[in-house]
């Protein structure tokens, strides 16, 4: 009897739903807004704010104008990047000096004095400590400069206008204008860029932004690009042009990254992501003076420290692995030498070498330690003098010294160019991979985001190598 009643009720509700029709949700929202408007008009007294609005409109007219909009945008981005890269050199050198040149030897001596066995000493101090110290020294200063600057721009209200100006370009690639912001954020750190995609509230466009964020050269990769370009690209042009040539090469790689970002966004939105829900809206908030100290504080705590902490957590075991592979032996050669031999044929096919591939495998946790690892491994397998011992990452005193070590490892201009390409197109670091998983909660998209760039890197370096060899 009761059951019958319930079924009758359900039937009745279905009938009524038919009668109400599709407009139900519309009418409800209209009603809510009408009520809200009534309450507002009764309760809120507004001052005449016309003057202020006009001021906002004047800024907007300039920022979104055909003439000034785009130059202004590039100027702001270039300034932020320049401040970050150049400004970070000094604190980085300072931190490096303290953490690597003073505390490291001190810890080593301390461990010896306490009576640590040599292997434990090497494993903990040369492996774990050194990797962590390196990541902190290289990663902390640029992030501590970049994120506050970026957050200030965001707070002021400029960044939504950038998304507004650029949306049409991104729309053609099937993406959201706000991806311009997450991409710029990726220039600082891809993990932070992936977190920043939360501002995109359309599921399809957000996934696109997450998967393609890795095509923005991050802080960990800028120094690699600049170093290699200076050593190899700068050397093939006359001395007086070497600075410009290497700068052009680095910018070229960054722009190429944007090209890949658009291409991949387009391909994803036309294929695998076709069915994901897509909406668009972009709010342009009024300009307001940034709350300076609060912004600095939150951007340091929320962005810099969290990312740094994750990087440290991942770098520590990487350091241990780097030390272990260089010191443990299979037969009479180290694991590192053995793996490098294994990777060498494939590396050659890509115009790279086994050392580089191994360095990119062990340095998945942090792009910052790729060059120190390459240098250490090159010294290890070539047996040339230099370096600080098996499994101890180091950096040469000057670009020239670095160049000498790399050339004795068999590097040519092709190796250098392909390294720059591979540095742009390879899997995200483990911090970013972990962040992608946290943000998407999907193993599938995490795997796609991790594997896709590596495959592209293999294909691009392979093609460049073959064409180079055919033409050379």
């Amino acid at each position: 009897m009761k059951k019958d009643n319930i079924e009758n009720l359900i039937a009745l509700s279905n009938d009524l739903r038919w009668q109400i029709g599709d407009d139900f949700h519309d009418n409800l929202t209209e009603g809510i807004y009408a009520d809200a408007a009534e309450i507002v008009s009764a309760a809120v007294h507004k001052k005449d704010e016309k003057g202020k609005l006009r001021f906002d409109a004047r800024i907007d007219k300039i920022i979104t104008s055909r003439t000034w909009g785009f130059p202004l945008m590039f100027l702001v981005l270039a300034t932020v990047l320049w401040l970050t890269i150049v400004g970070a050199n000094y604190p980085s050198a300072f931190l490096g000096n303290i953490l690597l040149d003073h505390i490291h030897p001190f810890l080593k001596t301390l461990a010896t004095n306490i009576g640590f066995p040599i292997w434990l000493n090497g494993f903990l101090i040369d492996g774990v400590y050194l990797a962590v110290a390196w990541v902190v020294a290289v990663m902390l200063p640029p992030m501590a400069i970049f994120f506050p600057l970026f957050t200030l721009l965001e707070d002021f209200g400029y960044l939504p206008r950038v998304a507004f100006n650029l949306d049409n370009l991104f729309k053609r690639a099937g993406a959201h204008g706000k991806q311009a912001l997450t991409m710029s954020m990726g220039f600082g750190c891809n993990a932070a860029g992936v977190v920043a995609t939360r501002i995109i509230d359309s599921p399809r466009e957000r996934l696109i932004a997450i998967i393609t964020n890795n095509f923005s050269l991050c802080n960990g990769r800028w120094p690699t690009q600049i170093l290699i370009a200076t050593i190899f690209v700068g050397a093939v042009v006359p001395q007086s042009f070497s600075g410009i040539a290497s700068l052009a090469a680095v910018i070229g790689i960054a722009v190429l990254g944007m090209g890949f970002m658009f291409l991949t966004s387009w391909a994803l939105s036309k294929t695998v992501l076709k069915g994901e829900v897509s909406t668009f809206n972009l709010e342009l908030p009024p300009y307001r003076p940034p709350r300076f100290w609060k912004t600095i504080y939150t951007s340091l705590i929320d962005r810099t420290l969290i990312v740094l902490w994750r990087a440290i957590v991942f770098a520590a075991p990487a350091g241990a692995v780097i030390w272990l592979i260089s010191n443990l032996h299979i037969g009479d050669i180290t694991i590192a030498a053995w793996t490098i031999d294994l990777f060498n044929p494939f590396g050659f096919l890509l115009g790279l070498n086994g050392v580089i591939l191994l360095a990119y495998v062990v340095a998945i946790p942090a792009n910052e330690i790729v060059i120190p690892t390459i240098l250490m491994l090159t010294v290890l397998v070539t047996g040339i003098s230099g370096g600080a011992g098996a499994g101890v990452m180091f950096e040469a005193d000057s670009a020239n010294a670095t160049g000498d070590i790399l050339r004795s490892g068999g590097w040519t201009l092709l190796t250098a160019i392909n390294l720059m390409l591979f540095s742009l197109l390879h899997n995200p670091c483990s911090t970013t991979i972990y962040t992608i998983y946290k943000e998407t909660k999907s193993v599938k998209w995490t795997v796609v985001a991790s594997i896709l760039p590596v495959i592209m890197g293999f294909v691009v370096t392979f093609l460049v190598a073959q064409i180079w060899r055919i033409l050379a």
Binding site: S65, F70, N168, G275, F280, E283, L463, I470
Partner: protein, 338 residues
């Protein structure tokens, strides 16, 4: 042993092979997989649907018509027709084929599954309008009765699919649409678009490209054997009669609100003010909710706030906030200029 030319050729060869295997739709891999699926059920269901739609238009088909309409080998179709006769889904009278009562029921269930899935695609996914029909055409064969019932309840037992076709209920009730083809609407008569036919593909895509929406009011202003000109939401459209025949309109009384003031938000110029009349039926699902939540509701005042250096999106001032919308969204919001 190694030569860059060889390596490059090998790579190009492998790429071409992969492309041939996996390219969308036509790839060999998909073709092989498709041929492995037992497709007699699919053929039978397609014949049922064909018969159902023809009988709805009072056309009686013979076996010849069926073989020419379906893209299947003749032997397959004949086999399926025999199978259907054995299960008394159809009655064969001489050359002519008719649906039996149980066949009719079955066909109605297929139609229900197809239209519900189209509704689902429109409301809950991001697939493009032109893809809906093709996806539903495949999916309808996979849905069980429980699936369709569940789908219907999730979607709130909708009456119509996104093209304006009625969705049969579980008990087989079909709401009927009372309307005439746009090509039959007389000059100066008002109508409201209630249905856009999604077949044939070429015509449907043309209508989509014209940006004509279900639920819009139209008024025919000129008509001859070559073309029909009508006003709709502040714009003039010209269509060939054969295309207009695929659009169904319901007649509206002349004294119904005149549509001359109605325009689309995308047509609002700088320094003009307007009041929102509503959001087009074509704005669906998540996107529609979002617009409503932002305050694009009936009666709200709106003006252009900012033009874009690249054309779109434009920012509109609504409820004191500046919201940027792309043209395809703004064209689905109806306004009355003040």
């Amino acid at each position: 042993m190694y030569s860059p030319v060889w390596a490059l050729s090998l790579f190009i060869g492998i790429s071409i092979l992969l492309f041939l295997l996996f390219r969308p739709e036509k790839g060999w891999f998909w073709a092989i997989r498709k041929s492995n699926i037992n497709n007699q059920k699919i053929v039978i269901e397609d014949i049922l649907k064909l018969l159902y739609h023809s009988e709805n238009q009072d056309k009686i088909l013979n076996i010849n018509d069926i073989t020419t309409s379906l893209n299947e080998p003749e032997s397959n179709i004949l086999e399926s027709v025999n199978e259907m006769a054995r299960h008394s889904l159809i009655l064969i009278e001489g050359e002519n084929v008719r649906l039996s009562e149980s066949g009719s029921d079955y066909a109605l269930r297929m139609v229900r599954a197809h239209r519900l899935w189209e509704k689902f695609l429109a409301e809950k996914t991001g697939f493009a309008e032109s893809d809906w029909h093709h996806i539903a055409e495949k999916k309808e064969h996979e849905l069980t009765d429980q699936d369709t019932d569940y789908l219907a309840s999730v979607l709130g037992n909708p009456q119509f699919d996104p093209h304006g076709d009625p969705i049969p209920t579980k008990t087989g009730k079909v709401a009927d649409i009372k309307g005439i083809a746009l090509s039959d609407l007389d000059v100066n008569h008002l109508g409201r678009i209630i249905h856009i036919k999604d077949k044939p593909d070429i015509i449907y895509k043309q209508i989509l490209a014209e940006n004509i929406h279900i639920g819009s009011q139209v008024r025919v202003v000129e008509k001859d054997s070559n073309r029909i000109v009508f006003h709709c939401e502040g714009e003039a459209f010209k269509l060939a009669p054969i295309i207009a025949a695929n659009i169904t309109v319901s007649l509206l009384k002349k004294e119904y609100i005149s549509e001359d003031n109605v325009a689309r938000l995308s047509m609002l110029n700088e320094n003009e003010y307007a009041t929102i009349i509503g959001i087009s039926k074509e704005m669906r699902g998540e996107s529609r909710r979002r617009l409503l939540d932002l305050g694009f509701v009936k009666g709200a005042n709106v003006k252009v706030d900012l033009l874009n250096p690249l054309g779109e999106p434009k920012a509109f001032l609504i409820k004191g906030t500046s919201i940027a919308l792309r043209n395809n969204q703004a064209s689905k919001i109806l306004i009355k200029k003040d």
